[in-house]
């Protein structure tokens, strides 16, 4: 079965999509994604490539935070992505870390031509663990893979680090549009998986069978299932 769409039957609410509605509201899920990483690794470019399919070589430092919205069609669902682009600079750190809390998934980016940005990955990962929810999904992305001549971080090192941290790994290029879409789509898929898992565990019948450790922690809200 497709883990990304646990709800295969048409629900009663789906009928409304037949009607003309504000296109803005016309989506099934809304996911919030955060892109983090050192300054100038290409977070903004990565986002622009994905959202607008555009690229500018000029470097413009992001002020604090910014976001773009893109609606995609994935696993038979319309998913609206609000993708937050953060400033890599230290001075905005208080604002950017505040946004970790609302993110379902992260793209942690380094620059394959910049050793320092790679060395910082561990710290970024710690930040995620500190400020984000426990199930935060993270993809490690080594950007600028078009600049093979200037590469200082071998693919293998990236892969190993990702494995060590428990993240999935991509090398990508916003400039040459390599793996950009794939990165986002993979992240969306992983979030979908987490979503369907959370739904299963929230269901007493299923979670009882699974006897996950979270079952004991979980406070069952009184209104949990039916109001009947």
């Amino acid at each position: 079965s497709d883990p990304a769409c646990p709800l295969q039957m048409a629900s009663a609410t789906d009928a409304r999509y037949g009607q003309k509605e504000s296109s803005d509201q016309n989506f099934d899920y809304m996911f919030k994604i955060l892109i983090i990483g050192n300054s100038s690794v290409g977070k903004t470019s990565f986002l622009f490539r994905y959202a607008d399919d555009s690229f500018t070589p000029a470097f413009v430092s992001t002020v604090g935070i910014d976001f773009k919205v893109k609606t995609i069609y994935r696993n038979d669902k319309r998913i609206k992505l609000q993708i937050w682009d953060t400033a890599g600079q230290e001075r905005y750190r208080t604002i950017t870390t505040a946004y970790y809390r609302g993110a379902m998934g992260f793209i942690l980016m380094y620059d394959i031509t910049n050793e320092e940005s790679f060395n910082a990955v561990q710290d970024w990962s710690t930040q995620i663990k500190t400020y984000s929810w426990d199930n935060a999904q993270v993809l490690l992305v080594g950007n600028k893979c078009d600049m093979e001549d200037e590469r200082v971080v071998a693919s293998e090192r990236g892969r190993q680090l990702a494995e060590h941290l428990g993240f999935e790994f991509f090398e990508a290029s916003a400039k040459d549009n390599i793996n950009v879409k794939q990165t986002f789509e993979r992240l969306v898929d992983i979030i979908c998986e987490k979503m369907s898992e959370s739904l299963d565990t929230a269901d007493p019948a299923v979670s009882g069978a699974k006897q996950g450790p979270q079952l004991t922690d979980q406070q069952v809200p009184p209104h949990q299932d039916c109001a009947c």
């Binding site: 079965s1 646990p6 709800l7 295969q8 039957m9 629900s11 009663a12 609410t13 409304r16 504000s22 803005d24 509201q25 989506f27 099934d28 899920y29 809304m30 607008d52 555009s54 500018t56 002020v63 604090g64 935070i65 910014d66 976001f67 919205v69 609206k80 609000q82 001075r91 208080t94 604002i95 870390t97 505040a98 946004y99 809390r101 609302g102 379902m104 400020y131 929810w133 426990d134 199930n135 987490k194 979503m195 369907s196 959370s198 739904l199 929230a202 269901d203 007493p204 019948a205 299923v206 979270q214 922690d217 979980q218 299932d225 039916c226 109001a227 009947c228």
Partner: protein, 617 residues
């Protein structure tokens, strides 16, 4: 870490930038809140439908959902794993090998659709925090508290009332006194910066706005104004090159403002080769433009033959695909493009007026040495049916001469409003008499440069307390009280394309001219690489009274930010005014009375957001 979260440590301009982001985020959130509200309502309705209530006695064995009786042997029903109620087989939804009753299913469905699953998961780690409040909302709140702003909502009207801890309208009005100072702080820095910029551009701007808004009025005055600016040399050289001044003026009306140099006509009609020629835009040089309006021929660089002959074409609208098809079959008895040599190489060209941009242009192949050319070409325009009545189909026939010299051979203009597309008989081919260009372009043929979407609100702070007790005096009070005009520039569409690749780096300038001719100027940030920009930027015109505004007019212009070293380019503008005379000379009655009504609506509905769509000229 979030307790002291605010924007205090940032510079003013940084704060401004981030606030814009926060407001955009607020809009996204409100759309989502609305979606979630609907979802919850639907679930609630579903619940009510099958609800068992205490004061009603139920059959021992009935489905908890549809309340159909269940049998003892057949159709016994089964207990739902989710809610432990017995439901019939119809009220189940199968999920893999398991099933749930319809409500348990809908409940889970809603959990994923609303994102509640995430909040629940997150609450495991941060149980103390407000589940739904986002960082953006928190930041905005802290900012507004600090700067004592109750609300600065560049939010469109549909979402003014929301549930998520946002200040309601009432509070907003009652607190709007403390408003002025803080909003001032917010925008003062920006405004002063903008003023500097716009001052340096004043000459250009007034010059251009003259071209675009007052054209066709006073030739002498216009010449005079131009000569004050550094554009004079260019323009005079242009005049020298052009066939006649009158032609130029007519061209200006047609072409609105884009002047192209003589050699540009070589580029015209060959849009595949981006022009490297110099194009004059309000007198400034632009290098990397191509075929902006592609109406150079109309702008005066062409000869006119004595128009004769007819053109045969058919037109139909395909409702299914929103496509207007124009099939140009042939012409007969055309005038010779070069009378002396008895030479004619005709081709036909169409525009869907008032759009005269290259988007709207279609062209047939050039037929050699004939005055009875057969074209058999079909052009397609994708356009909403409702839009058609605002358009006119212009089919013109041209001679393509040596050295790319163009000669106008005649044209037909069909107002599509009067065309019955639903009647099949109108789809057949017909011959139409070609006509010469009208001496003066019709009002309704004014340049269409897209649309600007706004919402506006006149804020009159003194009203809040008075309104409950002294309603009868409100009118006077409001007219005299200094308030603020808030204008959110939401976005624009169908802007003329002036860059390769079809995108723009656009921004909006607003200029409110008060009765004493003093001006308040505002400018939005530049939105890069968007063909249909959505600035969502708030203009605040402070310290204005309603009575002043009735005598004022507000000019809005959309500009494309120039690359280094050249001037910004005007894309289109519109004026809001109560005076109908202001606009009567162009734009036709429709847009004129429209913008007039919209301005009146804003002024007569203080403290209410009004949505506006303006046609840019």
């Amino acid at each position: 870490m979030t307790y002291e979260l605010n924007l205090n440590f940032l510079k003013e301009l940084e704060q401004e930038t981030i606030l814009q982001v926060l407001y955009r985020d607020q809009m996204v959130r409100k759309v989502d809140e609305e979606r979630i509200r609907k979802l919850k309502m639907q679930l609630q309705q579903l619940r009510w439908k099958g609800a068992k209530s205490v004061n009603h006695e139920y059959h021992e064995r009935s489905c908890a959902r549809c309340q159909k009786s269940l049998g003892l042997v057949m159709n016994r029903g089964a207990v739902c794993n989710g809610c432990s109620h017995r439901v019939c087989s119809e009220c189940r939804v199968c999920l893999n090998h398991l099933w749930k009753c319809t409500i348990c299913y809908a409940h889970g469905d809603m959990k994923v659709k609303t994102g509640e699953w995430f909040f629940e998961e997150r609450a495991k780690k941060f149980p103390a925090q407000d589940r739904h409040e986002t960082t953006g909302a928190k930041l905005l709140k802290s900012y507004q508290k600090l700067s004592k702003i109750s609300v600065v909502p560049p939010t469109p009207p549909p979402f003014t009332v929301s549930t998520g801890g946002n200040t309601t309208m009432l509070q907003e009005i009652s607190q709007s006194r403390s408003f002025n100072k803080s909003v001032e702080n917010l925008f003062l820095s920006l405004a002063t910066n903008m003023k500097k910029i716009s001052k340096s551009q004043n000459d250009m701007r007034s010059d251009k706005s003259l071209l675009t808004t007052d054209y066709g009025q006073d030739v002498e005055r216009r010449k005079e104004r131009r000569s004050q600016s550094d554009t004079a040399i260019n323009i005079t050289s242009r005049i020298r090159n052009a066939p006649s001044l009158q032609r130029l003026i007519n061209g200006a009306r047609d072409d609105n403002e884009v002047y192209t140099k003589r050699n540009c006509k070589q580029g015209e009609d060959s849009p595949d080769s981006p022009m490297s020629d110099t194009v004059f835009c309000g007198g400034k040089k632009h290098d990397s433009l191509y075929s902006i309006n592609s109406t150079c021929t109309e702008a005066g660089n062409f000869d006119m033959a004595h128009v004769t002959g007819e053109i045969e074409f058919a037109m139909r609208y395909i409702f299914k695909t929103y496509i207007l098809e124009v099939c140009i079959k042939a012409c007969k008895n055309l005038a010779y493009g070069e009378e002396k040599k008895k030479k004619c190489n005709p081709y036909a060209k169409t525009y869907l007026l008032p759009d005269k941009s290259s988007r709207s242009k279609r062209k047939t192949a050039v037929k050699k040495n004939t005055v009875d050319p057969a074209f058999h070409e079909t052009f397609k325009y994708k356009i909403e049916y409702s839009q058609l009545e605002t358009r006119k189909l212009q089919i013109s026939v041209w001679h393509s001469g040596a050295l790319k010299r163009r000669v106008f051979l005649g044209e037909v203009i069909i107002p599509l409003a009067s065309w019955n597309f639903e009647d099949n008989s109108t789809q057949s081919f017909n011959w139409y008499q070609l006509k010469a260009k009208p001496e003066k372009p019709e009002d309704s043929l004014v340049q269409y440069n897209g649309e600007l979407l706004l919402c506006a609100k006149l804020i009159l702070p003194s009203q809040s307390k008075k309104c409950q007790y002294e309603e009868q005096r409100n009118g006077e009070e409001q007219a005299a009280a200094a308030g603020q005009l808030h204008l959110v520039v939401l976005g624009a569409k169908n802007l003329p394309v002036v860059r390769c690749g079809g995108t723009l780096n656009s921004f909006v300038k607003g200029c409110l001219t008060l009765p004493d001719q003093s001006k308040i100027r505002q400018k939005s940030p530049v939105l890069k690489k968007e063909a249909s920009p959505e600035w969502k930027h708030l203009f605040v015109f402070d310290g204005v009274t309603a009575s002043q505004l009735w005598q004022s007019h507000l000019d809005l212009g959309v500009w494309d930010q120039a690359s280094f070293g050249s001037a910004d380019q005007f894309l289109g503008g519109a004026r809001l005014s109560t005076k109908s005379g202001d606009r009567a000379r162009y734009g036709g009655q429709v847009c004129n009375s429209q913008s007039k009504l919209q301005w009146q609506k804003i002024l007569s509905n203080p403290n209410v957001w009004i949505d506006i769509t303006l046609t840019l000229h």
